[in-house]
């Protein structure tokens, strides 16, 4: 068994184009939700989202780069930052998450079929639509040819990818694994959540008594996980470590969590057991916290039962829900919380739900002694995943 160290990370999210900008937004409690401008939302109830600015993404230079979807550009941007922080090492394998891939290209393809015009870019749309394409683009950009597993476990995907990579390194299957996740905004997914009445036309207010639903976001984040053996041999900077991962499936409903909170509780319990920790040793809970009635209710029950008194926030309040990318993005936020000793705020928070036994860190970031963070992600199909990060 090897310790699993984080020796590199990269992120692009609505909070900023790199780790430094994301950290600044976390300290400031920035509200990075804005009116959607990448497709028409005039017929949707929800009309806002957390969006990555196109100007933040590296300007494509070659013909190949100009053809890439935003999802590929976001992934490349995140990996480029990771490479800067990790001494340019080539990973042995990749474990990457997405829930919708480059769906917007599939949408363009279908629209061109329905309207019967503008088929000129059809082949390119198809090539870029497939969910594995951004991962292939990353490999080509950095001249890697290594195996890649792409997990699509809905909104739990990102945490699943980091967690699986953690287990691979800990069990000494690999020494260096790049893991992470991405998801761009797409009209179909945006409309899907709107049709389920899960999206809100108001501010996203996770864990608030008057919460009314989620707002979508987008982004990409990656972490380089490295065995202690490899990191010591390379004399690299260690940013933190991963010590536990747990999953559960609550087998209740395709889109709704079991109201008892058993799914999230089991995932967190399993992560704690995997790490050999007690719940009291967790300093901060980076909650899934989508701000839907059902998610926050069940997660709230689970945290109350398992970690009464814990400091909790949902960073989705600042950037929205990046779906398959969320778990990886929030793993980086959790890492930043440990590195810089802060609890990111749960903005737009007004009143807690009566009966919950944890403390929502509302509206302002708090300096705090943070040694361990548990990060939760839950998804359609009743999938739940929790990850525990620790100061190295």
């Amino acid at each position: 068994m090897q310790r699993v160290l984080i020796t590199g990370f990269g992120i692009v999210s609505p909070l900023g184009r790199d780790g430094a900008e994301n950290l600044k937004s976390l300290w400031n409690g920035s509200d990075c939700i804005s009116p959607v401008n990448v497709f028409d939302v005039s017929k949707s109830r929800c009309r806002t989202a957390g969006q990555v600015q196109n100007t933040w993404l590296a300007k494509p230079k070659t013909r190949r780069q100009r053809r890439l979807d935003r999802s590929s550009l976001m992934m490349i941007q995140a990996v480029r930052e990771m490479m800067r922080t990790s001494s340019q090492i080539k990973p042995e394998t990749l474990v990457v998450a997405t829930s919708s891939g480059a769906m917007s290209k599939g949408e363009q393809f279908y629209r061109s079929l329905v309207t019967g015009k503008n088929r000129a870019g059809a082949a390119r749309q198809v090539a870029n639509y497939l969910p594995q394409k951004p991962v292939l683009d990353v490999q080509e950009e950095f001249n890697w040819r290594v195996p890649a597993h792409i997990i699509s476990n809905a909104c739990a995907s990102g945490t699943n990818a980091v967690g699986h990579a953690f287990h691979l390194v800990r069990a000494e299957c690999h020494d260096v694994v790049l893991c992470g996740g991405y998801d761009p905004l797409s009209e179909m997914v945006f409309t899907g959540f709107d049709s389920l009445q899960a999206a809100t036309s108001e501010k996203i207010r996770p864990f608030d008594r008057d919460r009314s639903g989620l707002v979508l976001g987008e982004g990409a984040a990656v972490l380089l996980l490295e065995s202690e053996r490899s990191a010591v041999a390379r004399h690299v900077t260690v940013f933190g470590e991963i010590v536990g991962y747990g999953v559960s499936t609550d087998n209740y409903h395709p889109t709704q969590p079991h109201p008892s909170g058993i799914g999230p509780r089991l995932a967190m319990q399993r992560a704690l057991a995997d790490a050999g920790l007690d719940a009291g040793q967790i300093d901060y809970v980076n909650a899934h916290g989508t701000a839907t009635i059902f998610n926050d209710a069940t997660e709230g029950i689970a945290i109350s039962e398992l970690m009464p008194g814990a400091a909790v926030s949902s960073t989705k309040s600042m950037m929205g829900h990046a779906l398959g990318g969320a778990g990886a993005i929030e793993a980086v936020f959790s890492l930043l919380a440990i590195m810089h000793q802060l609890i990111p705020p749960n903005i737009n928070f007004r009143q807690p739900e009566p009966g919950w036994k944890f403390r929502v860190v509302g509206n302002k970031a708090e300096p705090a002694k943070i040694r361990r963070v548990i990060s939760n992600s839950f998804g359609f199909g009743g999938l739940n995943a929790s990850l525990i990060l620790q100061a190295a």
Binding site: E140, R145, I150, S152, A154, C173, S195
Partner: protein, 374 residues
């Protein structure tokens, strides 16, 4: 650490179960092709569908009453593999699930997005959206089996089935308490998918296609195949790769060569089950098989069943277990003249190892080596 195939299952356009599918393949049967009914622009493509009666058993489950074809297929094959492994539903809780999917629930995705495009976002049905999610089939199977732990869906090109088996071996390797893993490859099809692949000349508009010949494209098929991977059994997954990507079609043979070199043992396999589908993949496999394995018999199931994309890799591993157990290969239908070692009739083999290969559309090569305990 060794991993073994404990049970297999499949539902294909040829038959409702793996035994009958195998019998049909040995008899040289070809799945019925039908033209898609819901196309645009007068472009016609054919596909091989699984008759609804083959999935009628699981369609009665309340959890699946609103599910799409892909969920019904995946659950049917997964339950069949579990039964074949001698594991009851009640005993399944200790297992994990890994699904391999390439394009996912395209029927529901198309219907949902069609409503968005034609009627507006405010008229899109909330009933369709949950089934457009890639992991919907896996979550249904987990729910029916009450598996409350590991439940993963992997996406990728048609090599993802072999990648899923590799992933399952990782789960077993990293968790000594995990008893077994159900690996399911599944795909449904739709005119939009065929039209999309046709833009790259990967799908033909004919009702049959040739492999190792003219390379005019493939025909898509619905299929689900499943296996139960555990720590004991008669057929061993001796080696399996996580896959190697390639960035241009002309580099596919190089990627496949690297993969089979990684897996190669002292003696050549007794047979190869290939992924040839009437596209550039044929050329890559032809080059590697000829230079690396000489006269080793090669079988391709796709002209008989069709190309089931994400399901095809798992189906090939399922067929490889039958090949090893029965020491026979079916005839490859519609094989051109570019590779002499292709089976053109039922062919007896004599050996303990079979290689399964896959060259995906977009763009990964992968392979697995299966061995029978003598």
């Amino acid at each position: 650490m060794s991993f073994f195939v404990r049970g297999i299952g499949a539902v294909t356009p040829l038959a409702a179960n793996v035994e009958q599918t195998w019998a049909e393949l040995l008899a040289g049967a070809e799945a019925t092709r039908q033209a898609f009914a819901n196309g645009f622009g007068g472009r016609i493509y054919h596909c091989a569908r699984v008759p609804q009666k083959f999935t009628a058993g699981v369609a009665r489950e309340s959890r699946l009453r609103r599910s799409g074809t892909i969920s019904l297929l995946g659950v049917t094959a997964g339950l069949a593999a579990l039964e074949n492994a001698g594991i009851s539903r009640d005993q399944a809780r200790g297992g994990a699930i890994v699904f391999a999917i390439s394009c996912g629930g395209v029927e529901y995705t198309r219907r949902f997005y069609h409503e968005v495009v034609t009627e507006g976002a405010n008229n899109a049905s909330p009933l369709l959206f949950p089934e457009t999610v890639y992991n919907a089939p896996a979550s249904h199977l987990a729910s029916l089996l009450k598996i409350d732990n590991r439940d993963y869906t992997l996406v990728g090109d048609s090599s993802v089935g072999i990648s899923a088996v590799h992933f399952a071996t990782q789960l077993l390797a990293t968790d000594p308490e995990l008893e077994f893993c159900i690996v399911v490859g599944v795909e449904e099809t739709d005119w939009v998918l065929a039209d999309a692949f046709a833009t790259w000349r990967m799908v033909t508009n004919q009702s049959s296609f040739e492999i190792f010949g003219s390379m005019r494209g493939t025909i898509l098929a619905e299929t689900a195949a499943a296996l139960v991977l555990g720590r004991s059994g008669r057929i061993q997954v001796a080696r399996v790769s996580g896959g190697i990507p390639f960035f241009r079609q002309r580099d596919a043979s190089s990627a496949l060569r690297d993969v089979v070199t990684q897996l190669r043992r002292d003696k050549p396999p007794a047979a190869i089950l290939c992924s040839a589908n009437g596209t550039f993949a044929d050329r890559a496999e032809e080059i590697v098989f000829r230079e690396t394995f000489g006269s080793v018999s090669v079988y391709g199931h796709k002209p008989a069943i069709g190309d089931s994309l994400g399901a095809s890799g798992v189906l090939n591993i399922v067929l490889a277990t039958l090949t090893l157990e029965q020491q026979i290969l079916p005839p490859t239908l519609h094989s051109g003249g570019r590779l002499e070692s292709v089976t053109r009739e039922k062919t007896k083999i004599d050996g303990t190892e079979v290689l399964v290969t896959s060259v995906g559309f977009n763009h990964q090569a992968n392979a697995a080596l299966l061995a029978i305990n003598s």
